[in-house]
Every structure is written in structure tokens, then in C-alpha cells.
Subunit: 126 residues, 2 copies
DNA sequence: TCTATTGTCTTAGTTAACTAGAACAATCTG
DNA sequence: CAGATTGTTCTAGTTAACTAAGACAATAGA
């Protein structure tokens, strides 16, 4: 079961935060096809956002073909995201963890790490 | 000189995008103390956002102590961000680029890479 | 001093995000 | 079947983000 946590005042709309967290869970394999998402009322109770906001997030995921809502029973993962298998992912995660450890010992903060990755991924363009 | 590019419809407010881009440029050393930011009117002309929105972004950066606005001459970088020196940064960037190349050849998309980094940085917690 | 440049402020209005509370509809479970 | 659970819809309202256009104020440079 996925746990949502909505950061009020981060500037990012709540329904986008919810959608991102589902997509991220799909990419990392935490959610797989057939899994059930928390009910709308669950999310309302745990995250404090309104039911309409949760519904908006779920509806966008449904429009993207990622989940399927079944009235009376819940919202279920329909399709996966990300092209990597866990077998590919695990060694890459280990290598990345080693690099992160090195970066941190060089004094880099998390934000520095993110900035560096964005730079590398975008090909160093400005 | 930094070039801003505001993505309308990304959900993230424009003034936050501007602020993030300045902070990122500071972390990567693209902006250094003494450098001048684009003028408010420049940003208006190139990015299409309103002057008040640019002003809001610059004012937040000023409140954070990162820049200093001088009426009549411009807005200047006051302080730097990030604790790493370029000498530390360069080898780390090279290693990260190698890892990214490996990840991509394993079929990972950019979003997969971001998700993996977030997971590693947060310590694997759920 | 004069002029252009730059940051700043004011006022007014629009739009999207979000809240609030209630009700309805389909499904599952006992 | 009966009751609980779940997704869904509705109406109304609030708030923050953003737009628009103009004017003012301080500084730099000729």
C-alpha cells in the first residue's frame, strides 16, 4: 500500500503531488498492475486534502491509462511505467548509492546532487 | 548571463520556476557573487511573464540573502549556494555522467533516473 | 544637468486551485 | 437481500497566482 504525503505550501498543487507519487511508485516497482491505490476517503483522512482534489489526481492517472477506477471496489493499477526491470535496477541503484556517498563526503548537499544530475541529463546545455 | 525559460502549464508557479533556476545556477557555479541577473524587463520580454511575477521571484531571492537589488543598475548576486568547489564538482560530474550512460543503455528513461536518485537520497525509506 | 535604464509600486481584474458539505451510484460482503 | 464501502457528481465559495497597464523613484552615464 502506498502512503501519500502532501506538502502544503510547496507551491506544487496537491493533485499533482499525488499523481507524481503514484508515477514514481510505478517507476520504482512499488506499485504493480493489479495493486489497489488507497481509497479516496483514505487519502482524505491521511493527507487532509479534499475528496475532489484526490479525485482529480486519480482521474488524470486514469486518463493517462495508468490506473482504473472501479466503483464500489477501489482504484487499481492498470499499467506499469518505466522500461527497466528490477534485475537491471538493483545494480544501478547500488552504483548510484556509492556515488552519492562520495558526493556527500565531498560536501555536496542533496540540492547540489539534484542540480548536478539535471545538468548531466540535459547534456550540459544551458 | 542566465537565460530563463518558464514552462507554462507545468503546474509550478512562474515565480517559483524563476527562483529555482537562479538557485540552480548558483549551485552549479554558473552564477557567482557580483554577477548581474537579467533585468526585470528583460525577463518580461524573453519569458512572457508579468513584471510583478519577476519581481516576486527576485524579492524572494533577496529575502533569502542570495541577491541584492540596486535600483537603477540591476539585481546582483550577493552570496553563493552550495558547499562544493568546482574542483570537487568536476570529477563527480564525470563519474555521474558515466553512470547515467550506463543507466540509459539499460533502458532507463530520465524519469526513471530521477526516481532512482530520489529513492537513494531519501535513504530508501517509504 | 539631462536622459535612459532599472527596480518598485498601485490598482483592477481574471483564472485556476482548492475547500466544504452533501448527495448519488455501483459494488462487495455477510 | 441488507448494509457497508467505494467512486462520483454537484453547487457554492475562498484563496492564491497571475495578468495588465501605468506611474513613480533611484541610479548610471553622457
Amino acid at each position: 500500500m502506498v502512503e501519500f504525503h502532501v506538502d502544503r505550501g510547496s507551491g506544487l498543487p496537491a493533485y499533482l503531488q499525488l499523481g507524481q507519487q503514484v508515477r514514481e511508485a510505478l517507476r520504482l516497482g512499488w506499485l504493480r498492475p493489479g495493486d489497489r491505490l488507497p481509497t479516496v476517503r483514505d487519502v482524505v483522512a491521511t493527507s487532509g486534502v479534499n475528496a475532489n482534489t484526490v479525485l482529480k489526481a486519480y482521474r488524470e492517472l486514469e486518463l493517462a491509462g495508468l490506473v482504473e477506477a472501479r466503483q464500489g471496489s477501489g482504484t487499481f493499477v492498470k499499467s506499469s511505467l518505466g522500461s527497466a526491470t528490477p534485475e537491471d535496477l538493483d545494480p544501478l541503484r547500488a552504483k548510484l548509492a556509492a556515488w552519492v556517498a562520495e558526493a556527500r563526503s565531498a560536501g555536496l548537499e542533496d540540492e547540489d546532487v539534484y542540480a548536478l544530475l539535471r545538468e548531466v541529463l540535459s547534456g550540459g546545455e544551458r
